[in-house]
Symmetry: C2
Subunit: 358 residues, 2 copies
């Protein structure tokens, strides 16, 4: 299965299939330097896949292998500086391709290195998680700071995305459910039919854990995302819709140190609360609470924090402007809207959510 982006120029292929990394051999031919930035967890779980990737360079090329932790400790200034200087020590040239093999962290991090080293070299995303079906497409790359997630970065398109489905087979359930949040988000952005279809396919943890027919929904998710980002690459308009669940999600992710997708799912739940409050929607909150509990999302984390630290984190969201905090709310399933939400509504919705979960 191969998609091609449809920007005005500089398009790139997204190849989704088992054994997609065999494509590397052809893709890497033009480069003097080939840099693999590999998530240590992936190497540990699937050493033979990593070997397969590494064997796609020729003996005439300079091959550099860098291993990073597959968690947020990688997305720091310190690691960024370290990796950049290590590559420069090896005298890499602009004729370099960086290949990111790992989850969202590895892709975001390696992409930012690629975007800025020597003012930019080529890079290929090889996402190895379900979550990364989202982050590997659309060109957002970056690192974190003590002030919040992804606050330093760039919009920088990859040369190709190779989504090798073999990598998904060894994922622990936490990773699967974390990734599923973005797949589910894409379904909510698509409409009621998509929501019904995905909830039917994955009614509970057991179904989701099996991964059966997940590839179909991954593809739909990528298509949904592509349609949006191609129209609005730099997030000045509808790309903001993709932040559904992320305003509150990023805050609780940082505050409670939980996986990104778990936080996003909680953020989606919170968003229904705010919509019911502000837009007079009548979303069935218990439906979502039950569904997310069936899938084993840690909703109880909402009870472990006060509102103030979350508000402080939400105030640093990149989407905010002169008029304060902006959120993506669903007017109805499939109809997102970006809207300013004042602190009173935010606080009241948080209290309501806590009451539901008590």
């Amino acid at each position: 299965m191969e998609l091609m982006t449809t920007y005005k120029s500089n398009n790139y292929p997204i190849i989704i299939k088992n054994n997609a990394i065999t494509e590397l051999t052809e893709l890497l031919k033009p480069y003097r330097d080939v840099v693999f930035i590999v998530d240590k967890n992936v190497e540990f779980a699937l050493p033979e896949k990593i070997q397969q990737a590494l064997s796609s360079t020729s003996s005439e090329q300079f091959t550099h292998i860098l291993k990073v932790e597959g968690n947020e400790t990688t997305k720091t200034f310190a690691v960024y500086q370290h990796i950049i200087e290590e590559l420069l020590e090896q005298s890499i040239t602009r004729n370099t391709c960086i290949i990111a093999i790992g989850g969202g962290v590895t892709g975001d991090f390696a992409g930012f290195v690629a975007a800025t080293i020597l003012r930019g070299v080529d890079f290929i995303q090889v996402p190895t998680t379900i979550l990364a079906h989202d982050s590997s497409v659309g060109g957002k790359v970056g690192i974190n700071t003590p002030q919040g997630k992804n606050l330093v970065g760039a919009f920088y398109r990859p040369t190709a995305v190779l989504y090798d489905l073999d990598f998904l087979n060894t994922l622990p359930y936490t990773e699967i459910s974390s990734g599923y949040a973005e797949v589910y988000k894409h379904a909510l952005l698509n409409g009621e039919e998509a929501q019904l279809e995905i909830e039917t396919a994955f009614p509970d943890k057991k179904a989701l854990e099996s991964l059966v027919s997940l590839d179909k929904f991954l593809l739909k998710g990528i298509q949904t995302k592509l349609n949006i980002v191609i129209e609005d690459e730099h997030e000045q308009g509808k790309r903001k819709f993709l932040n559904l669940g992320h305003t509150f999600g990023h805050a609780i992710e940082y505050n409670q140190k939980i996986p990104h997708g778990h936080a996003v799912m909680i953020g989606i739940l919170y968003q229904f609360m705010v919509a019911n409050e502000l837009l007079n929607t009548q979303f069935d909150i218990m439906h979502y609470i039950n569904y997310f509990k069936n899938l084993d999302y840690p909703l109880e984390k909402v009870l472990d924090t006060n509102f103030e630290p979350l508000l402080a984190l939400m105030s640093k969201d990149k989407k905010n402007d002169k008029s304060g905090i902006q959120m993506v709310l669903l007017k109805e399933i499939g109809k997102p809207k970006v809207i300013h939400v004042n602190n009173e509504v935010l606080e009241k919705s948080f209290a309501t959510l806590q009451n539901y979960l008590k």
Copy 2:
């Protein structure tokens, strides 16, 4: 005098005149946050001009003022991280404009902050030196690493360039002659007539020091540069011509810790040597040595170093590829060419240059 770039989209004005900074008032209106990154030297020399700039924001805007050293100590990871975190602490949003007031260092540095903070915010270049007529146009931004200059950065267009000629009046001669190297380089790229004209206008230090009619040549320099960078923004082809004098220049700049323009002028001289060796040109080396001495360039620095450390630095040049070191050479005045040069030729040319200067 106002130029407008002619990219396919996202064009920006370049305004060159006395008191150009008065344009800020209008340009800054759309923003919630306005960040001034100011070169301390400029503030010291012309505090009233800085005050004038700062007074262009309204009381409803959040104004942030950050001062940086106007030298290469600013273009480091440490200062980059510090400034980014300081701005994030102040909860700036994407609705921010960063204004760089200073020389090339300030512009390069502030531009890289703008390119990467929150994945990119707007920025305005206010160059205050002659050298920065060059660096402020074309969108190259970045910082240095221990491995060399400008090895981390981006191509990121400003929203506007305000070249306020008032800033030039207090420059020391070292700054004037450093900046003149790029003006002269642009003339060499233009052709024999341009070379004759500029050498006639500025035959010696006294003429150059007066700055009389320099604005005319600055404008020509900017036009020459624009014509090239608009055609090849990301330096895949003819933009490389602008690196005339820079391969050897960057190496001796780093090695001897001399001003950028002085190093570039020495690099231009070295390039004539390599051209005579490799392309069978017959450039009159003594003409250039005499002219550069009349303008007080520190050519003797070439005698203070061996070839090896310079070669090591040249090997890290961003233009290099599979086949090794690439230089820009003049086939004739106005006719640049990018060409691979092997180490033997590089070393021989260095020895010849040293002999000329002994």
